[in-house]
Symmetry: D2
Subunit: 258 residues, 4 copies
Amino acid sequence: MVLKRAKDTELAMLGLGRKNFIIRLKAGTKFQTHLGILLHDDLINQPWGSQVASHLGKIFTLMQPTLHDILLHTPRESQIIFPKDIGTILLRLSIKPGSQVIEAGTGSGALTTALAWSVGENGHVYSYDKRADMQALASNNLTRVGLENRISFRLQDISLGMEEIDIDAIFLDLASPERYLPHVRKSLSNAGTFGSILPTTNQVSSLLRGLEANGFTNIDVCETFIRYYKVIPDRLRPVDRMVGHTGYLVFARPLIDD
Amino acid sequence: MVLKRAKDTELAMLGLGRKNFIIRLKAGTKFQTHLGILLHDDLINQPWGSQVASHLGKIFTLMQPTLHDILLHTPRESQIIFPKDIGTILLRLSIKPGSQVIEAGTGSGALTTALAWSVGENGHVYSYDKRADMQALASNNLTRVGLENRISFRLQDISLGMEEIDIDAIFLDLASPERYLPHVRKSLSNAGTFGSILPTTNQVSSLLRGLEANGFTNIDVCETFIRYYKVIPDRLRPVDRMVGHTGYLVFARPLIDD
Amino acid sequence: MVLKRAKDTELAMLGLGRKNFIIRLKAGTKFQTHLGILLHDDLINQPWGSQVASHLGKIFTLMQPTLHDILLHTPRESQIIFPKDIGTILLRLSIKPGSQVIEAGTGSGALTTALAWSVGENGHVYSYDKRADMQALASNNLTRVGLENRISFRLQDISLGMEEIDIDAIFLDLASPERYLPHVRKSLSNAGTFGSILPTTNQVSSLLRGLEANGFTNIDVCETFIRYYKVIPDRLRPVDRMVGHTGYLVFARPLIDD
Amino acid sequence: MVLKRAKDTELAMLGLGRKNFIIRLKAGTKFQTHLGILLHDDLINQPWGSQVASHLGKIFTLMQPTLHDILLHTPRESQIIFPKDIGTILLRLSIKPGSQVIEAGTGSGALTTALAWSVGENGHVYSYDKRADMQALASNNLTRVGLENRISFRLQDISLGMEEIDIDAIFLDLASPERYLPHVRKSLSNAGTFGSILPTTNQVSSLLRGLEANGFTNIDVCETFIRYYKVIPDRLRPVDRMVGHTGYLVFARPLIDD
């Protein structure tokens, strides 16, 4: 088997114990933490999976980051949607290579990244947010992982509507998604899927009322949880603390009145 | 907006309340349950999202099934991997359009379906199982959803090894996955990802020992949970019962000895 | 050690595998299930923990039922409060030997049983319900476990108030507990504790508003979960299904306006 | 209703928002935190539930602590058993007024406190630990809550056996409880209950093997979880983080060989 090697300008992850760092390789630069310095030139052309020592003797493993790694390490200025929820969102929205998707708001771009990753080169994501600073951050995050060509950022409040029509999936991560459901109906394909994430039960009740009022069906509400274990074979046990809440996920499909 | 319509030979879902049925549309045939009969000819060319009555007056909604719907309704003769786990598996294995993936065993083909869906037309899935009956069922399931071209079934015990090399992701749903780790190392790209699902804690301990012995790193063990709600806005509450256990998910990355 | 033996008129549990039956021993009668017949006379004077065969050769273990066993097997005509919640309720209400407690409604008497058990001979429980049939069932259930002397049943709608004052703890298992908070304030000691269980989030919001309006503090809302395992040492794993929801528990303490 | 008032030498809790402090009232002393100073003389004879201001103007509520409050605030030098588990332990061990109970090890005395509370004046708890420092701490903790008369501390390794016989319930919070099961059998009444808490799955498997080998039946393994909510009626939602693991609870009953 010919080993695959890390190339200049590729995304890379350096792992040490439970700690991982994601970097974009660039000849002539260096990676620096309290665990020591590594020259990118010493990483470039190394096989993925090899071990490299910092100048402090700390041994890092050079890995290609997975989508999960990338999502967990999304640089953020807002609460991101967590991988535990993103996995379910992708299945429920039925995202696939070629899908056309709208999300609002953009936030720090974690879900944006997962959507762009999954729609492939022939799909597209339209991401709305009224805050220029968040879109600038998300744009950097998408560029960092090389998915910027699959995204169009719209610096626009969706209370003014969305430009696109016939969209396969629309996901709203906004405080009062029920307000925008008439716009969702205009942009979403009649074969499409709708989803939202909401932190409070009161918001879920409001969205459920809105979905009924705006002709949606196949409505589902769920929460997801993930519980990690310490990976010691002779002392296998869950970790002490876990995420107890991110948000309620709501999914629905549009009804057509003939 | 031009309405998208259900076409002859397409996959369709008929929903009534919390009950959904997935069918392949075929002119001249009929859909029959205790809720009444519907002629496929009355469904073909209807817009997705429209409502159609059975001869007993029950109103069904005609929908394009999502990946999640398809997975939930996989015809099965074995325990399938649940959507709650599949979402996490896809992210952790970093599956994307173009990925080359191996899974073993095939089982009823639920994960196979999700993998084939996600790798797109340019990716491929190699699915190993030593049981011909399971592969026949899985093959039918993949054909049913139109993804058969993205799969190669291998009727083979992987204790004999796997034919492919340089694979992006390998997932084992087998009783003693640690036995096959040397084969995994031969077939898995050094940049690739490994995953497994196991029902018991004893198996997890054994796999963890095997992963250490076979040069894996970045090892994680987790469980996922999903909790559904009744979708009544004025009486919002979780449903009474939930799935308490499917399996422990284990993920790892290969180390390269220079 | 002198063995303790099952005596005539005592409460007993017969266990076989995961199946348990609770009976009141009575000389001359018999225990009959599809697993066979056992004469009470063959059980009376047997040591607790001994094994006895039914006429079909099934081996039962004779045990003194725990409070947990009794609660799980409460004969019921309504949803009972589950042991997983009762454990928390007893701690949060600070029930102890000698406590004076009010509960409403009585329901089938599971919580009533736990309260009566915990307050001991010097405490007392006042149990309100407007349904005579439920109180009759609960009364039978309390008599069955020999705790009837610690309970006074009040066949009365608490919208008319409660007779007792200076009570240590009041627990409401009713649809709209916020309606009765002025009455709770009159009957509850200023050093006392208040609790409630509610199935929906909307009810929790309403009760929280009521607690603030009626001078309560130290308010807490929580849910409890219990996850059982299959007890096979070499194949240790959680059981497939679990209870996903019973109710939200709400606790509070009264404020005094000087 | 005559108001109950805080008396000199009583245990009291001072609450401010989500923060609670438990103190023993003592005339002439003061309570001091970064939230200001309160003189005990200003608290003594105040009605429970009244509000008192610190010298910094912070308003505290004076409350009688519940058992739950006391357990949560147990001064500790070791991991304590959490209230979420203690509620279940009390029900499963069937603790009631008058019970005779053994626990080992003592640890910081949280479970000891709950047992002493529940057995009442006519019951007794024997608490074994080989560490004198832990028993000194636990002894202080029990004295602090006024339950010291219900406890006998045994500074002794239970591998040497336990002095008492015919005990109603024995609970082991030790690393390898299976080692002590022969001793448990000697001290535990044949009508009694056994329990243990263990952090790892490997320990659970070992204990299960030991229970089978030592003639136990009615074996159960479970985990408990508690999920707290923010108590804002219009923005009801769980808190972000929760305890993901404390330990596996194991319960069993002794079998008698005739």
